[in-house]
Symmetry: C2
């Protein structure tokens, strides 16, 4: 049998990160390539307590079919939490619980994009989302990320030139992979441009709670008087990614279409995990838990940046970060990043070449991404020392 | 903002069943419209034990990111189990753990169907799958279901007339909604026809283990020397639907594409639940558990059929079943099934009109579906008595 696949998946390949993960699985290789929460960041005791109580007192609720929209008490908890803490959500919005925030990218794409439509994204951007957009045969138009977020002049140029643009995809806080946080001015500018050109915004905010320094900035969704922003939230970085629980807050007509698509995709999100998330947020001290996470990552990020200062300067530079899980390192322009990362693996440290995160294959980058949340402090030291030795030889 | 949705979801509506469920939520209405496992069918004690042990001994494994293909030990368990018990799976096949079997329909559709391609399905068939095919703008061609499965002459006719047919969708065991089990001869005939016309088969088998009478028949996938069958398995009816764990066994090139699509859809299936399923199958007596389920449903189905015999004859007839969760009841041809079901709701019993399961809106049916797994024995009695009173007045 010769298999004929759909046009949309003909050219789809497993992500470059997955290929790199194969090297990272070698226990002699120090992996700075993942994006997993630190093992000490999981509220394991609390989850075990909640789950034991749930399965003893109300097991059928946790194990039976549930509804596509999500567990009603969790929806209510998040609606209130996001309104109170982030001014996110209006009476014209609704909320949908999803199987991780990744599913929001899929459901939004499926609901909004025809084949050949355009998604405007930061360049570089999160490869998982870009691949989802690609899987609907969307064309990606990248807008360069600067120290304070996407270049809004280039964004307007893209919006002018691309009548088929349907949405702007942005990660305003501690962007993956660049680590950049968008300034308040640019958040407002992006919103105004989307409004002016009649396109939607997907605001992806998995790392927003992981700010360990500086002032929290308002979400773009908090400006959303027009109903043009799809807000994407996730428990993957603050409770557990293995549970796969995320949530979209968006205008009701968009949520309605996403619900219909979700019904055909997985019926509903694992209800056991939805209940556990809700119990954790409402019955435990969620704010104290977030403060603990910020402290864990403040220390780890601080160590990583100290090591980068010590070992990589002056040949390799990087952007200081205020939160999130990633640091973006820049090689000199005469160095090919793919070869550098391949050499790094041979030297037993694994980082992700920036090329993996670019909107289009022809987009040039000389940067690579390192993650500091997954490795132990010892691994971080060892990995960055190896990179330092390589930096000296450039 | 006026929202413009993709062509594929413009006409998608929430399923008719969902609308009916709204009535079913009224506690004074007896619901025979669901498809939930009986509450007594859940291995709640075992799940609680397994989960407690897991979260105490290896919590990070249950809560951290995992890989898209699925939990390796569960894949190995299922590969061996399906080979040994059902002769399903060859060296050319691979297995993918999914977020319920519903996701298999989505991933297969996304991988295989271009817009306008044709899916040949039994008529009637499971609305959840049909809606997924529709969500990729596939055209559905229905083949009538007879007492021993789909009419294979009509199937061949459809295959001849539809050069854009990409796969045949079938539920060979205790089909939802008709309750029909496909004969061995027809299983072979369907396989040979698919081979002859170069199309794939999706064999959806959520109820296969729930046979309470008669001989188990081989899966179509067990004939699959050509690599043309995508087998869809699920734990929803035998462990827990709330966990959302299913599995596809299919030729490697197809699984590869489905994995890439799944990566962009939800990254991986809830890993906590995957581990729990694997521990339950391997460390407990899974066969004894299945035997217990068969006994629960043998009793409930027996009661339902006795009640139908007593109350609905001769005006309403039905197909005797040997397993599964559903019974298909036929009204006289002069009765409009939609009105009948609406009257039933007014009389406080909720059943699903057959129209919800038809491939196309113009396909005529005079049947409705009842479910016997979810209601208590008392509810079954009350519900079927009400239907009986309505039958007498026809």
């Amino acid at each position: 049998m010769e298999y004929v696949f759909s046009d949309r998946v003909q050219s789809l390949k497993p992500s470059a990160i997955r290929e790199i993960f194969k090297y990272a699985a070698d226990p002699t290789v120090v992996s700075l390539s993942a994006g997993n929460p630190a093992p000490e960041a999981f509220p394991t005791k609390e989850i075990a307590e909640i789950s034991a109580k749930l399965l003893s007192e109300n097991p059928i609720a946790a194990l039976q079919y549930s509804i596509t929209e999500g567990y009603a008490p969790l929806k209510a908890t998040l609606t209130e939490y996001m309104k109170k803490n982030h001014n996110v959500g209006t009476d014209d919005d609704d909320i949908l619980i999803t199987s991780g925030a990744q599913q929001i990218m899929d459901l939004a794409s499926k609901s909004i994009l025809n084949e050949g439509d355009v998604v405007i994204c930061e360049n570089p951007s999160f490869i998982g989302s870009l691949n989802t957009f690609r899987s609907y045969n969307a064309r990606l138009v990248g807008v360069p990320v600067e120290k304070d977020g996407m270049n809004t002049e280039k964004l307007e140029e893209a919006l002018k030139n691309e009548p088929r643009a349907k949405f702007i995809y942005t990660i305003p806080n501690f962007q993956n992979p660049s680590g950049v946080t968008m300034s308040l001015e640019k958040r407002k500018a992006v919103y105004e441009l989307a409004k002016k050109y009649g396109v939607l915004i997907i605001e992806d905010n998995p790392y927003g709670d992981l700010r360990f320094r500086g002032e929290f900035l308002p979400c773009i969704k908090s400006f959303d008087t027009e109903g043009i922003v799809i807000y994407s939230g996730s428990f993957s970085k603050v409770i557990s990614p293995g549970m796969r629980v995320g949530y979209a807050i968006a205008p009701k007509p968009i949520i309605q279409k996403m619900v219909v698509c979700k019904q055909g995709q997985d019926v509903h999100t694992n209800i056991w995990s939805q209940i556990v998330c809700n119990e954790f947020i409402t019955k435990y001290d969620f704010d104290a838990h977030l403060a603990k996470l910020r402290e864990i990552y403040r220390k780890k990020a601080g160590l990583a940046m100290d090591l980068l200062d010590e070992h990589l300067a002056p040949n390799i530079t990087y952007n200081k970060i205020d939160g999130g899980l990633f640091i973006w390192c820049d090689l000199p322009e005469y160095v090919d990043v793919a070869s550098f990362c391949m050499d790094a693996v041979k030297n037993k440290v694994c980082v992700v070449p920036g090329t993996a995160f670019m909107a289009n294959p022809e987009d040039v980058t000389h940067s690579f991404r390192i993650n500091f949340s997954t490795p132990t402090d010892e691994q971080l030291k060892k990995g960055i020392e190896i990179l330092g030795q390589m930096a000296k030889k450039l």
